[in-house]
Amino acid sequence: KEGPDQKTEVVLLACGSFNPITNMHLRLFELARDYFHETGKYKVIKGIISPVGDAYKKKGLISANHRVTMAKLATKNSDWVEVDDWESSQSEWLETLKVLRYHHQKLLSPDPPNSLQNAIPLTKPGRKRKQEPNRHDPVKKKNQGPDIKGVPQVKLLCGSDMLESFGIPNLWKLEDITEIVENHGLVCISRAGNSVQKFIYESDILWKHKNNIHLVEEWITNDISSTKIRRALRRGQSIRYLVPDVVQAYIEKNNLYSPESEDRNAGVVLAPLQKHASDSKN
């Protein structure tokens, strides 16, 4: 395709506990990709699962090693979704924005040989790059197909619960939310009849950047939450067909989830809440 049919390359980044990864997490990627392809304006080139680090201190969060391994097992059969352990290998908890920036930088870096190797930053060197979602100037690049427009965008893939968590006091910094929706973009998968649109409407910053918040409706109800999976496991109930077989086998072999594991971090303040509380004190 040529001319105005040029497509923007998109990378989908999902951050979360993945404790454990489930078929629902994997579905998010499929739904998002179908959505972008149907617009005719985007081409999804990669999906990244980035499990949160242990320093997040969420109740019941088991070791990142296991969570990363399970995610890798789950995506073995995928030719476009992969797992990245950069975030989970940091010793401190990292804001989601930092993970987005990291992956965005990685796409632009010349190290790994790929089709984006010769992507040239659109701004003068030394100046902080800002990604404008509706940029129409195609940049001439060597070795890039004629149907690719601009530089690839990394978008945060999430469910409505993450989007609505923007409203939880001290969980997110306003400037982070702003940069996420302004420079990167959100892809939010939610069930029909959800309150996401209302939530966006009631937020000035989200409303301002609503063109960069893609809402995808999930018609096939699939509410396989990790919490419920862990609960079923504690009760000796089957989780087959809710998580990939290899993940179920791994959990069973390593006896990962128990009442003890669920008690981890009980009473501990979640890292972002801790951080923002102490920031505001300073």
Partner: protein, 272 residues
């Protein structure tokens, strides 16, 4: 309660399985967990019985494919299998007959095992053999279904009253429903079902996973992904044989379901 003294139980699911989805397989897992937790049963087998092509449902693809897909999906299950008997009959078969058939089959199998054991010298019998030989409790066969299935009993001309009675009296139902639906109420509204409610097991599915096969077919026709809703092997099979298309979806369009055809002719012999 020791496993040995539990009643052996076979779960039978009838349906289109057009195509089989992760949700279908979940029904079995949920039912088994529930029945084990009652302490009274030992689920020994799960049987999936795809309906005959003659059923006449809109969009129903050939049984050959539906059986093949179910086999692929169940390859990794050590207790659930697909049975082609119903689909191989010359015409559509009432559910009660499928239940009777599989029950008789299980009795036959039990009988032949007993014969086999009798002819074995004691030294050849393993401890397990001895246990099951003594374990001559007759198995029970129950129909596994979703809550919507219970409600179809109300549809005029779809079921014969005496069949419903035999199903709940002689066999039993294991009915999986999602949070929010209330099959107990429906049972309460039916005298027949209330009478045999001890033989209707209601299992609530807390982890919502309503993967309707109809939606799967729509997605496939539109070139959308169904990965993680249906096993990979089934997705490959569907793609390879190009099974679900706009054309396949129009099959039987406008036709009456076979049970409705049959029952309305018996009720109204004067109609053409």
């Amino acid at each position: 309660v020791r496993m040995k003294s539990r009643i052996p139980l076979i779960l039978l699911a009838c349906g289109s399985f057009n195509p089989i989805t992760n949700m279908h397989m979940r029904l079995f897992e949920l039912a088994r967990d529930h029945l084990h937790q009652t302490g009274q049963y030992q689920v020994i087998e799960g049987i999936m019985s795809p309906v005959n092509d003659d059923y006449g449902k809109k969009g129903l693809v050939s049984a050959r494919h539906r059986i093949a897909m179910a086999k692929l999906a169940l390859e990794t299950s050590d207790w659930i299998r697909v049975d082609p008997w119903e689909s191989e009959q010359e015409s559509w078969t009432e559910t009660i007959k499928v239940l009777r058939h599989h029950y008789n089959e299980s009795l036959r199998l039990l009988q032949s095992k007993k014969e086999f054991m009798k002819n074995k010298r004691p030294i050849e019998r393993s401890t397990e053999d001895s246990l099951s030989y003594q374990h001559s409790v007759l198995p029970e066969l129950k129909l596994l279904c979703g809550a919507d299935f219970l409600q179809t009993f109300k549809t005029p001309n779809l079921w014969k009253e005496e069949h419903i009675k035999e199903i709940v009296e002689k066999f039993g139902l294991v009915c999986i429903s999602r949070a929010g639906s209330d099959p107990a109420q429906y049972i309460n509204e039916s005298d027949l079902l209330t009478k045999f409610q001890h033989n209707i097991f209601l299992v609530k599915e807390w982890i919502q996973n309503e993967i309707s096969a109809t939606q799967i077919r729509y997605a496939l026709c539109r070139g959308l992904s169904v990965k993680y809703l249906v096993p990979d092997s089934v997705i490959s099979y569907i793609a390879h044989h190009n099974i679900y298309t706009e054309e396949s979806e129009r099959r039987n369009e406008g036709d009456l379901l076979q049970p409705l055809k049959l029952h309305s002719t018996t009720v109204n012999p004067l109609n053409d």
